[in-house]
């Protein structure tokens, strides 16, 4: 029993994890012959990606996801610190992640109801005879990203902060460190693993989302995810969609390698 019980899963991973990805790789390297409908080898999909139109989409995605990650870090780090110092930190943490248990689509939809033309905020503003376009722009998408992914930043940072050896912080104070210096030289470097997993967990879903940009961005803010979805569900150009997905995977791989490097560099304290 011991020896063979992982065997079915080996076949399963081949069928449902590796084969699908190989298929995407294969599609990305082929185009459909318009006469025969056969797939022929070609690099056209990758060449096509250098079209300024698509480059802009890539830049916009990385830019928005990057800004969202930075905002989440700035908002989330103090939050994680405050919660970790609370008396009932477990309960507060539970309350903090409670909204996450609500359907992701509903949470995004809620912002549509608030920011929309006849939405909550505009109704309030109309008392002062002001109307604002809040929905269907990059800022709305950014807000949706921060709202949905903020807990992903707070959780790992909180976990690291709670486990941190408090005597190190006390030692820094005893040796005459100011609170700010203690934070910069002791607390922050020690919490870096948490920060790095938080950054990964926010950036990855943000850069590949198509739901948030679809609902809150309207047609205005197209991201990589929207491109992929369009190619597969609307335009029916699977080859091009696959090429975009391959690039998206590479992008994330590069991002994770970079973060891994930073983590390594700081391992065991700062220099």
């Amino acid at each position: 029993m011991k020896k063979y019980s992982a065997f079915p899963y080996v076949i399963w991973t081949f069928l449902f994890i590796l084969l699908p990805l190989l298929l995407i790789g294969y599609y990305s390297l082929t185009v459909k012959n318009s006469q025969t409908g056969e797939l022929v080898f070609s690099l056209a999909n990758y060449v096509n990606l250098f079209n300024p139109l698509y480059l802009k989409v890539f830049l916009n995605s990385v830019y928005l996801a990057g800004i969202a990650t930075v905002i989440c870090l700035i908002l989330g780090y103090p939050m994680a610190m405050i919660i970790s110092k609370m008396k009932h930190s477990q309960t507060v943490l539970l309350l903090f992640i409670l909204p996450m248990w609500m359907n992701f689509l509903l949470r995004t939809y809620a912002w549509m109801a608030i920011l929309g033309k006849n939405g909550f905020i505009n109704q309030l503003l109309s008392l002062f005879h002001v109307q604002m376009e809040l929905l269907y722009n990059n800022n709305a998408v950014l807000l949706g990203m921060v709202y949905n992914f903020l807990p992903f930043m707070v959780l790992p940072i909180y976990t690291v902060l709670v486990k941190m050896d408090k005597s190190l912080i006390e030692a820094a104070y005893d040796l005459g460190c100011t609170p700010w210096r203690t934070f910069r030289k002791v607390i922050f470097p020690l919490s870096l693993p948490g920060v790095i997993s938080g950054v990964t967990m926010v950036f990855m879903p943000a850069v590949s989302t198509f739901v948030i940009s679809d609902l809150l961005g309207g047609g205005q803010s197209v991201l990589i995810g929207n491109l992929v979805q369009e190619q597969f569900m609307k335009v029916n150009n699977w080859s091009f969609g696959s090429a975009i997905s391959v690039i998206l995977m590479l992008l994330i791989l590069m991002f994770m390698t970079l973060l891994h490097r930073i983590d390594r560099k700081y391992e065991g304290g700062t220099k």
């Binding site: 011991k2 991973t13 109801a113 608030i114 590949s208």
Partner: protein, 262 residues
Amino acid sequence: MKKHLARLYTFLIFFFLYAPILVLIIFSFNSSKSTAAWSGFSLRWYSELFRDKSIMKALYYTLLCAVLSSGIATVFGTITAYGIHHMRRRPQKILLTINNIPLLNPDIVTGISLMALFSALAVLRFKLGFTTMLIAHIAFNVPYVILSVLPKLSQMPDDTINAAMDLGATPFYAFRKVVLPEIKPGIITGAIMAFTMSIDDFVISYFTAGVGVTNLSIQIYTMARRGIKPSINALSTLMFVAVLILLLLVNKYSDEKEQLMS
């Protein structure tokens, strides 16, 4: 001063997190269609929700898929974890790396790649529908179960199994009577994780469910794109209350257990 600042900050962040949900809940009781102007209390959207056949069908598919996929994934994942635990180091490392792919890949890539697979298998009369959605859910659930069971297996001393076998237990009996009780917490965590992942999933279902089948997330997506509909507010309120009750129950259960233990 510093303490007040921390309180204020906590309040603001919690306000940011809960305000949208509160707006949805409050306006689910609104008698008019508006999600901004209050025009009186009514349960109209709740009765409309339950009469909406497409929502009810989506709810049915969501629950069926969550129960089946988490159940199958839990059994499959636990057995696999047991096997992985006893593998030699190299193949173990390779399998665990592959096991990590669905966790690290963006949902959209997992979704389209499975869609591509199912379409390529269409020759074998494999059509997109409930079965393909179920397989996709199992595929992203098993890795979570494996990862939550494996640490429990490593914490367990190997001698206990050997002792059971020395005393004449068959391998299966030893697994059932010795291993299973030890790794039970990991299995339960894995099952709960799989269930919630499945209920909450949108992206992977969207690509693998095909035309006829929808789950709640897909339903909400199509409805939200067409514009605001107050029955979604009613639905979100009910779902939020359900989650709240579930969490309270789990909390109470674990509290009682802790008291029993101490």
